[in-house]
């Protein structure tokens, strides 16, 4: 059993941060890797990318948005409760090279994963800029942590309540137009956001790494549910990824594949609400 030692509500709505005791995983996990959580005996296996690992205290931090039954249940667990299963670290280990200037682009709960990745790029000696976006100011997470880590932070909000009025790609094009020399982009967030970023960075000829979140069961290469097309090749996100060259990813296919169980997910949520 893996105990929850800290719980934070990062936004007023539905962004939760949980710190979970998992000493071995905390020691082994590298930025960008993920874990699979099963909350209880009837639960799903939920893949969640780790936002921060504390090897000294033996804890990992996961940050997620409540989107369905499992995340709602996870969000309801108080400090001291334990989750039944936690498997990891999963996913390929990323190489962090010193390329010069790295721009990180994060949206929603993806900002948490981006933060972990940017730690890797910062440690490799890169200059790091981050663009973090949300619908409104109240939903923007980890701004302070990003400011501490990055050389420059550009927040954006869709409604203009804070930072750049617009979406993350507006801030990215702004950066480029101001003559900023960028060597690598790292985008983590909703698929449509990552697709938009990649469409733009293709024009700038800027290499882009994305972190994919396909449907997964075991997370160890066994089911093939997470397969996606990368450069006309089928790859398994769980063992080959979840990070890929964004310019080669077939986002449209992945967006379609991720809707496979939308109806079931609604039904699952409804039935659990009915049962209370």
């Amino acid at each position: 059993m893996y105990s929850i030692v800290d719980r934070q509500e990062l936004t007023k709505r539905d962004m939760i941060s949980l710190t979970i005791e998992a000493p071995v995983i905390a020691r082994r996990i590298r930025p960008g890797q993920f874990v699979i959580i099963r909350i209880n005996e009837t639960g799903e296996r939920v893949p969640l990318t780790v936002a921060y690992a504390d090897a000294v205290n033996g804890t990992i931090k996961i940050i997620f948005q409540v989107v369905g039954k499992s995340t709602a249940l996870l969000a309801s667990l108080p400090v001291g409760e334990a989750i039944k299963d936690l498997a990891g670290p999963l996913g390929a280990v990323m190489e962090f090279e010193n390329v010069g200037t790295v721009v990180g682009i994060g949206g929603g709960s993806g900002i948490a994963v981006l933060h972990h990745l940017l730690i890797g790029y910062k440690e490799a000696g890169n200059r790091v800029i981050s663009i973090i976006g949300a619908r409104e100011k109240a939903l923007l997470i980890l701004e302070d942590e990003m400011r501490e880590l990055c050389d420059e932070v550009i927040p954006t909000t869709d409604d203009g309540s804070y930072g750049v009025h617009g979406v993350v790609t507006d801030a990215l094009s702004g950066l480029v137009e101001h003559g900023e020399r960028l060597d690598l982009a790292v985008a983590v967030g909703p698929l449509v956001m990552m697709r938009a970023v990649c469409d733009m960075t293709k024009l700038y000829d800027l290499p882009t790494i994305v972190s994919l979140n396909p449907i997964m069961i075991d997370g160890t290469g066994m089911c093939g549910g997470c397969r996606c097309t990368v450069g006309s090749e089928t790859r398994f996100a769980c063992v080959d990824g979840p990070h890929f060259d964004g310019h080669k990813v077939d986002f449209d296919e992945l967006i379609r594949r991720n809707t496979t169980y939308s109806r079931d997910e609604r039904m699952s949520l409804l039935s659990s609400v009915r049962r209370g």
């Binding site: 071995v24 995983i25 082994r28 099963r38 009837t42 639960g43 799903e44 296996r45 039954k69 499992s70 039944k84 299963d85 936690l86 498997a87 990891g88 670290p89 999963l90 280990v93 069961i217 075991d218 160890t220 290469g221 066994m222 089911c223 093939g224 549910g225 397969r227 996606c228 097309t229 089928t234 063992v239 296919e253 379609r256 594949r257 809707t259 496979t260 169980y261 079931d264 997910e265 039904m267 699952s268 039935s271 659990s272």
Partner: protein, 610 residues
Amino acid sequence: MAERVEHDGAVVTGAGLAAYCPSCREALTVLGPSGRDVSLHLTVRYGDETGDLFLAPSAEGGRRSGSVHLCGKTAPDDVLCPHCGASLVDGQRRCRACGGPRARVLVAGVRQARLSAFCVTAGSVSALSGEATPKPAERESRHRMPERDAVLRARDFAEVTYGFDHGLAVAEAARCLSCKKPKCVEGCPVNVDIPAFIAQIKEGDFVGAARTIKKRNALPAICGRVCPQDQQCEELCTLRKKEGSVAIGALERFVADFERGTDAVAIPPRAPHTGKRVAVVGSGPAGLTLAADLVQLGHGVTVYEALHKLGGVLAYGIPEFRLPKEVVEAEVSYLRHLGVRFEVDAVIGKLYGLDDLFAEGYDAVYLATGAGLPIFLGLPGENLCNVVSANEYLTRVNLMKAYLFPDYDTPAPKGTSVAVVGGGNVAMDCARTALRMGSRDVTVVYRRTRGEMPARAEEIVHAEQEGVTFRYLTSPVRYVGDEQGWVRQLECVTMKLGAPDASGRPRPIPIAGSAYLLNVDLVLVAVGAGPNPTLFSGCEGLERSERGYIRTFDDAGRTSLPRVWAGGDIVTGSATVILAMGAARLAARDIHAYLTAGQTEWPTSGGRPA
């Protein structure tokens, strides 16, 4: 209600209970003419007229329907089995209330079948009056295990076969010739002393028989259900070409279930501790067998499992209706009692590498991670929604219990018309699972003919009975999707058989211009599995074959790394449960010799890759 009590009891054949004929052991529990009620199917005779009678339990005490007009309480002259025609009437007693005949049927109980007698006129009542099971007909031909009616069983996940009852087991055991040189033992990859345990069954010593098997095989209830006996022990049985092989698998299952059901499971004496520790990677058939062997020899054994449930393919792959998970859990719990330690959620290669395991103090490591990487055909449209690997489908349904969705949170893909690509056991499991998940048409697409299908004979027959359609000499070439990206059709070509290929089976050759479209909304791809790469990220220096499996240098499974053995599907590629167990048995013997002899060198240099 009062009327019901007056008659002598009848059988309630609701969910979970099934009745079958005491003579031929065919299922009498079927889906009634209404298509809704589970009913007891009997043939009744009034004078010269015979007809079908369906008794369905209901709150009012039984609803009757059938081809004969059944007036009030008029008792029939005779009640017959609709399959073999044997009379089911209890000659000794009649119903105390109406004086009508009492029919006797076998009812499958939790542990054993029981004989129950009831008044046919009354319809249905509650209590089962237990009587001694009658001896089955003495015959020279092989006895079949009672099976649930195909239409009924294809609607739920309860086990298909009921296993032998005492009478059938003894009658079947009596067929064994006790050959002086038993070929069957040679056919068994773990060399169970088959004639010895069958002789014990003849004498009624069922628990003794179970223990005889357990000396060689720690998982008899599993093997009795999933071994391809028809290609192993039973194939070599002297009686095979005469009256049919002795049903060795069914007998093995019977004694294992008997021992478990009567709480007679005993923990055999364990050798004194050797102080040596062995890490086993993977809790499938190979890992469990090796763990059982070594722990009994006095070594400390820990099994690491990447998933949250133990059993490997037994847990995620083989469906509930073929291998109830309760059976797997019971056999795993037996190993726990033997002293084996288990760690779940431990992804070796990620959480720990081989170096970490040796640093933890293990003296030997056994790699038995199986062939867990699903193979796809590489056809256009393969990533459309609802094109799913067999592994994913079965894992969702078995491991994650999607058949209980939404009580369990994991859903499974649904389809009205399902195509299953492949002809092995996994393909049969997928097809039969799809029927149970509510699919209307399930078609197995296989590129050779029925004779070449690698699936166990019983699985093919069961699939056919349950209504799976087979398209032989058919190979898929393309998936066709709709605008939303969901699969809608499978384009297939017809094949003909050519000269034998490397596998010794005739090579299928596409017939030009034979392409056609099959309408489907779910495709399950069951064309095999490859070596899962997850393990290898933590195993530097481990040599692998061209196909990516672990290279071993002798029959015991020694690898290129000192103190590391491997066995099962991760060495051979996809095979069977019992072959993996056979490999583990050899490895266990070698590991034991290595650990106790205090050897330090790793003599593989002169070896040949096995």
